[in-house]
Subunit: 240 residues, 2 copies
Amino acid sequence: MTNEHIVRSFAQELQRLSNLITQMGGVAEAQVGSAIKAVARRDVALAAQVMQADTRLDEYEREIDTETIRLLALRQPMAQDLREIVSALKIASDLERIGDYAANVAKRSLALAQVPVVRPTAGIPRMGRLVEEILKDVLDAFIERDVEKAIGAWRRDEELDDLYTSLFREVLTYMMEDPRNITPCTHLLFMAKNLERIGDHATNIAETIHFLVVGGPLIMDRPKGDDSSFAVVQPDQTAP
Amino acid sequence: MTNEHIVRSFAQELQRLSNLITQMGGVAEAQVGSAIKAVARRDVALAAQVMQADTRLDEYEREIDTETIRLLALRQPMAQDLREIVSALKIASDLERIGDYAANVAKRSLALAQVPVVRPTAGIPRMGRLVEEILKDVLDAFIERDVEKAIGAWRRDEELDDLYTSLFREVLTYMMEDPRNITPCTHLLFMAKNLERIGDHATNIAETIHFLVVGGPLIMDRPKGDDSSFAVVQPDQTAP
């Protein structure tokens, strides 16, 4: 009887931990969505809201950290249960970072709202839509323990890297056209980089889901990282 | 007898885990140092070496991950031992990210080596020296389990943020002076950002050391993040 009671209650505790991750994922997703909206609409109030709400993700991470350590100490879990707990620790850390990047996008949108609109700003919501899709798929994959969906999202990160690299080049040419574009375009570059990093953390979560469900690391061939780090764009591309 | 043997061998396993972190920390430190050298000396071969060696840190992280999960499952540790293992997991993740940022600095130094030197490049070794010091202190603090040293390093991250913010503004003005500076200066901005992020991960490690030794989270008042996200620099600062 007592034994059965403990077993059931450990399952409940694991479910609660999993629910915490799901909730935290929902908050992170909302933060990313709002940050992108704040850029597109030059909505300073929304940006401020995103920056303030970032502490909620820090609190979630602390709560999940404490809970995982408590469960590890009290329950001494093995196999699948142990993977559940270690995965929670890892995913909470990725979601916290995603929140930081969303808050930084929001913060930079304030600087952007002080100056006239620059054309490449439109690239941010375009990248943003893809980031939101990848993040949504990864979080669904976590809830459904769906490895295929996780791998699908993980593969799409490459599209995001491509989008980032092309936006990077576009923004550079705008900077060269008019020095007044330099400050807003620099913020755009960092915003785009933040979105690309959110994608990287989403792929980390996909890898953790693979570990959680399958039990081993995801080792596959996927071109990683963006090419913008190599980019050299000349001011006048037609010059000899 | 048997019991004593198990106790001693668990202590040895924990020591081995701790040594793995120390070794990984040494590799990360060397990677950061070499990346900064590659920028300062426009050393393309060294940059390529840093980029290649990044896989070593990925391997360390995988080994530490596997080892922590094995120890959690087999040893079912509690209290201090449990904190040792969870800390190893967290620190390995931070060191892996530090390696990624070092590799990205190296990668960008290749783009920079293709164009004439731009003046603000000198800011990178300046930031780099501080990053190296902070990282060294944090790794020493881990080896010595020295919370005071960890907190000291954690506080110095603020200097790094200040250095980053002033370099950010300096680089923007160079971009405005001459459009040929825009591409190299953009890489400088991202390099500086990478160094600033390495500092953030070093402070994460300092916080983990606090958790490891003291048993609770480090909650202190320290201004966090850089101010460059708010920066608006005008092309002609003397204009009406």
